[in-house]
Each structure stands twice: as C-alpha cells, then as structure tokens.
Symmetry: C2
Subunit: 208 residues, 2 copies
DNA sequence: TTTTGTTTTAAACATTTGTTTAATTATTTT
DNA sequence: AAAATAATTAAACAAATGTTTAAAACAAAA
C-alpha cells in the first residue's frame, strides 16, 4: 500500500511545509513583521531550509503573494466571464464564492491590501488582472446598463460597493471584536446572513 | 513681531516635528516596516532625538495610534450623540464627516486595520470605544428600528455596511490604481459623488 | 561672565534578523 | 556495497536596526 504521507507526496514535503507555514505567517502578520525564524518555527524545520528551498525571504513572499492573487482571481473568473448569466446572477455568484472563500481564509483581504500600500515596492504586476476584469462579460453588462441610462453614478461604484460589502467585515473583524461591537460567535452567522442580503442590496443600489 | 516659527512654538518644536514625521511614516508603512531612521530622516533630525523625546519606537507608536483613534472617534461622537437628529440625518453626518476626513488622510483606514490584526499585541484598549458607540443615540435609534420590526437583519449590518461603503475605497485604492480599474484623477470625483450616494444607499438598504 | 541645565550630535553598542557555510545525515544511483 | 547526490543541521556571519553614551553646542539662570 502507498503511504499517503510519503516523502514524495508534495503535500508533506519539506518544500510544501515551508510554503504552507509561510502562507500562514505572512498572511497573519504581513511581510515586514514576519521573521524567517517564525516561518521555520511554524513549519517545524531548520531555519536554513527556508533559504535552501526558496533563496530568500522576499522570493518566498513573492511566491505566496502571487498564489494568493491567483486564488482570488480564479475564484471569480468563471463567474464574470460566463456569458449565459444575467448581471444579477453574476453578483450572487461573486458574493457566494467570495464569502465562502473568506470564511475559510479570513485574513486574506487584510493581507492583500496591507501589502499593496501606496509607496510599497515589491508588488506583482497587477495591470493584467485589471484588464482581465475590464474585458469580462460582467464589465460589459455594467457598461451596457450605463449605455441604457439605467445607472445614476460612475460604474466603478458597483465594484467598490460589492467588494466593500463583501470584504469589509473581514477587514474590520479584529477591530469589531476588539471594540466589542460584535462577538466572535455572531460573526459567522452574520456573514451567512449576508450571503443572501448583499446581492439584494447591490441590486437595490443599482436600481435606485 | 512674534516669529510664527519660534522655538517655543509647539508646531515647530523638535518634539512636534518628530511626532508629525512619525505619523506620516507609521501611517504610510505600518509599525513593522517603519525604521526609527525613517522617522528621523522624515523629520530632518538626528536619530537619537527620537529616543531622547519618546523613549522608544513602541512608545512613540502607541502615542500616534492613540491620537489617531481619538481623531477618528471625535469625528463622529458629536454626530452619533446628537439627540435632536433623525437616524437618516446621522447617517449623512457620519458619511460627510468621514469622507471629508479621509480625503485629507487617505491612509488612515488601512493604517488602523493593519495594526489591528487578530494575533497582534500592542493594541490600545478599545472596549471603551465600543461602549461609547453602543451607548450612543445612534445605536439607540437602530435598536428602536429593530424593536419596531422594521429591520430585516442583524443591526450590526448597518454598521458594517456604512463603514464598508465609506472606508473601502480608501483601503482598496492602491489596489484599484495598480490594477488600472480606477485612475488617480477620477478617484476624488468618485468620492465626492459618494458623499451624496452612500446615505441614499444605506437608507435604501435599511428599508428593504 | 560664569555656571547650570537642556538639546543636539556622532559614534558606539547590543540585539535582531536574513543569509551562508561547513559538516552530518539521508537518499539515490551506479 | 560504494559512490554520488540531496537534504538537514548547528553554527557563524554580516547587515539592519533600536537604543545608549559621551561629548559638544546651545540656552537659561545666577
């Protein structure tokens, strides 16, 4: 019988253990606050192995960041490029997919935006992703809406609102917990509730 | 005649210069990425003076963070405690006040939430601020709404949505600029537009 | 003016932290 | 089994970074 945790199994290989540990520590604390020693400790391996497998802290970070961005974009790409669905269906799809993903990875939004500060270097090329969105069927449907005069504001507001409503609870979660405005147990329930509500809200906003 | 930039003028005193420089660098890059040397350079003073006036990087940071939180809370306190205004008026007041403040200080939201990560220590007591909000007239009016059965979801959603709609554009700004979804020049115009729109959106959401 | 106290400076210091090295152990190849 | 290659380790290294020091410059008081 095959050992499921064989050395050849990439999921338990040292390289993969380091990547997974790096993902956890980087997304939890950000690049600057993360020490290579933290990653080694999290992975339960010798510190030198981090450099042995990934050359440098920065290279490892770039890898994690690129993978993270890919996860985020892959999650909506099929939805926004689907030419067979209505705008409303796409909105529901985006909300569902993202809230599900974020419930599993609550630190992702804060991780991405904190590393994307104005003056920051070490940023992956994002222009491609921007184009990818602007050329989507979703974007086309919004432009359509605007062309028909059914939109009373700048179309980018739709994007801002949707992302804001989806993502903000996760970004503000530590703060809301800290201030006692929300309790830990309620949070998940509230997010589940929002899965149904946000699409209604967005549509209501569009048709205002 | 008095010199406006006299040595006794607290605005140009060394201590104040350091504080202002620290505010700029901390809010721009976060605690971990900020070097004491960065602050000294930004303030055009000798590095040792930072420790001379503020003892340690951490003490200086705590001061800046506390002042920042105070600015943020002072900005809405008069609005949410005003017993003579309607809920809708309060919403408009909050949106106006915050968007105005954030147009002047676009990095504030990202600064606050990045330093408030789940596992982070070095956080100011926030329970007081939470109470401050929950005891406000604004919170009372929302509970009232709920008691009358006019609210079809958890009341905290109102808070999440309002803050999300106000704050997210500033949090996502670097990313949106980077992806090319928004151009620098449009941003301010869009925010100005949102001053009128967000209150409408919130009210529409509440009454859904 | 002399003295005293405060502010500023350059340098040194100690610690943290990313990276490298050289030796050891484990695995693969011949 | 022997040789070669790869993975792992503990230690060392070098650069960075927060903090301290001791002297100099400056201002205030006597």
């Amino acid at each position: 019988m095959d050992k499921p945790d064989n050395i050849t199994n990439p999921d338990t290989s040292t390289e993969e253990k380091i990547k997974e540990a790096a993902r956890i520590v980087f997304t939890g604390k950000g690049y600057a606050a993360t020490k290579v020693r933290d990653i080694a400790a999290q992975a339960n391996i010798n510190q030198a192995l981090v450099n042995y497998y990934f050359r440098s802290k920065e290279k490892l970070f770039d890898l994690i960041m690129a993978e993270t961005m890919k996860i985020l974009f892959d999650k909506i790409k099929p939805v926004i490029y689907d030419e067979s669905t209505t705008l409303n269906e796409k909105i529901s799809g985006i909300v569902d997919n993202y809230l599900e993903l974020l419930l599993e990875n609550p630190e992702l939004p804060l991780f991405v935006v904190s590393e994307m500060r104005s003056g920051s270097d070490r940023l992956p090329k994002m222009t491609g992703n921007g184009k990818l969105f602007l050329e989507s069927h979703f974007a086309k449907q919004i432009r359509q809406l605007q062309a028909e005069g059914k939109l009373n504001f700048h179309p980018v507001n739709i994007m801002m609102n949707m992302l804001g409503l989806i993502v903000f609870p996760f970004i503000g979660r530590p703060l809301m917990l800290k201030t006692g405005i929300v309790k830990e147990e309620e949070f998940r329930k509230i997010i589940e509730e929002r899965k149904k509500l946000i699409p209604l809200w967005i549509v209501s906003i569009i048709n205002l």
